[in-house]
Symmetry: C2
């Protein structure tokens, strides 16, 4: 299958590498000049569970794509949320009436952006539990195991979604064809919508958040806002189950001593966050539906205020 990775950062490098190694025709698209230069000169170098793999995979900046005169079967969207629209605007020449897009970004509402570029029948949604890191330009660190859950968002996309499931699984990506991927996307958004914003604003790790007496009520209130809005999209979240799922992350012997990605983005690296695509998305959906989402509203504002104070870019 001819596959474009739209956003070849850490996770995009994992998908690109594993799909390339299993025999697909992969191109990488990324906007980081040093990363492009390194991969063109040395290949994509991965520390893959301790083994070094060097893969020669074509990589392009988004603005180079229009001149390629290529179309692809599948685009895997793995940009930062706020770069998704610009990426697809740059790479729309890859898309024809049979091209499918699978969105693997965290957060909510990305299919609305993607549907500006392809019909809904050509959109798949997924979540991934894989992890990935970049050690520098062109150097990926890919350890551990994970899985992907995916589904078409319209019935017409089912056959292609099942084909993608097979291809991902052949590549070792452990894909599962879901019967309710939107539920999984919302459930994962609840994890990000509680841990990310709260740990960022409180400047703490997940265990520190989880051990505060006041945290349970804050987390449950945010989950309740997500669940109330989700229900209007016919997604039924079991709030107790979701809370217990979030609470498993508090364990200091698990991921508890880590800072969530938003904390790393804003507090460590002074980068703008994805809050508008997590709590901010619930706020906007709530406003449109006349559902009050004050904790999501306030948390979104606090994170934006902190971005401004830290002059994040």
């Amino acid at each position: 299958m001819k596959i474009a990775i739209a956003g070849a950062g850490a996770m995009g490098s994992r998908f690109g590498l594993m799909l390339h190694e299993s025999g697909n025709e992969v191109i990488l698209i990324d906007q980081w000049p040093d990363h492009i230069k390194a991969i063109r000169e040395n290949g994509l170098i991965a520390n893959f569970n301790g083994e070094t793999i060097v893969a020669q995979i074509p990589i392009y900046a988004p603005e180079e794509v229009a001149s390629l005169d290529q179309e692809v079967d599948l685009i895997i969207a793995l940009t930062k949320a706020n770069q998704l629209d610009a990426m697809f605007n740059s790479i729309k020449s890859l898309i024809n009436e049979t091209t499918h897009v699978i969105c693997l970004l965290n957060g909510l509402g990305h299919e609305d952006v993607i549907s500006k570029y392809v019909a809904k029948e050509q959109i798949l949604l997924g979540i991934t539990m894989w992890t990935a890191g970049l050690e520098g330009p062109g150097k990926a660190k890919l350890f551990g195991t994970g899985e992907v859950e995916l589904e078409n968002i319209e019935p017409a996309g089912a056959d292609f979604a099942k084909k993608v499931t097979e291809i991902f699984t052949e590549a070792g990506l452990n894909a599962v064809y879901s019967d309710n991927v939107k539920h999984s996307v919302w459930r994962k958004a609840c994890v990000n919508g509680t841990l990310n914003g709260l740990c960022t604003i409180l400047d703490c790790n997940i265990t520190d958040l989880g051990t505060q007496a006041v945290s349970e009520n804050m987390i449950r209130t945010i989950i309740h806002e997500f669940a109330t809005v989700a229900l209007k999209e016919n997604i039924t979240l079991d709030e107790e189950e979701v809370y217990q799922h979030v609470a498993t992350t508090f364990d200091p012997n698990g991921v508890g001593l880590h800072h969530p990605s938003m904390h790393q983005d804003l507090i460590k690296n002074n980068r703008l966050t994805e809050i508008d695509y997590i709590n901010g998305a619930v706020s906007r959906k709530g406003q449109a539906l006349q559902i009050a989402t004050p904790y999501c509203d306030f948390l979104t504002s606090l994170v934006h205020a902190k971005e401004g104070i830290l002059k994040a870019k």
Copy 2:
């Protein structure tokens, strides 16, 4: 007049000194051992607008008061909010049926605590715009000017409140007998209820808060919650006027470059905050009245979480 200062920190030292200098019989009560020791050995030493004043004023720890066999005409409450109840429990031997108490603490609901120790007819409420600092044990720094606004909370207290107004004014404290001190208390609580919690959670000064695009909506929402609850206590806050009043603090040529006291307490000194007597008080009152106060609830929880994370004491 025989006056006890309950809580002789920076502001209590100002009131104690100025009332002592104008001829009243003042005693100081405070729980800081080094402060007591220094004042007993050297007197209260004040840098009063550049002039050094040394005043020999008796000072006692709260637990020493019971054995004094004294009663007073007026107690001026200037403790930290969370020390008020314990202070009055320790010094109740000072109180007889003619003793009045004036509460000058920031925040809401302190009269409920004080009314455990004296009848409501003996309680006055006030706000002060004076500033004061401590340079160390027994050493006050008292610069600038200010005023006091005060009023009885029950009609029977009016005569005494007017007498206190006179005595304060004779001492140079610029007191005004108010016709609606509760309105002033709530209006000042709106300032503290916005700047204190937000600057603490965002770890920023007042100008930094004020210059963020998202801040106006956060501040207006908090003021709206205060106003909605206040109305149930027959206090009508003009939300626009209060917002503009808060916004005057953003000016970097005024107080804007300062961090509010709660930021100093928690972020700088790792001390527990007074959030339960500001936003937390509005949350409790709102809950009792079945008025939703989500921003006050969330901000109170965030500050408590931060106290826990920083192991504040």
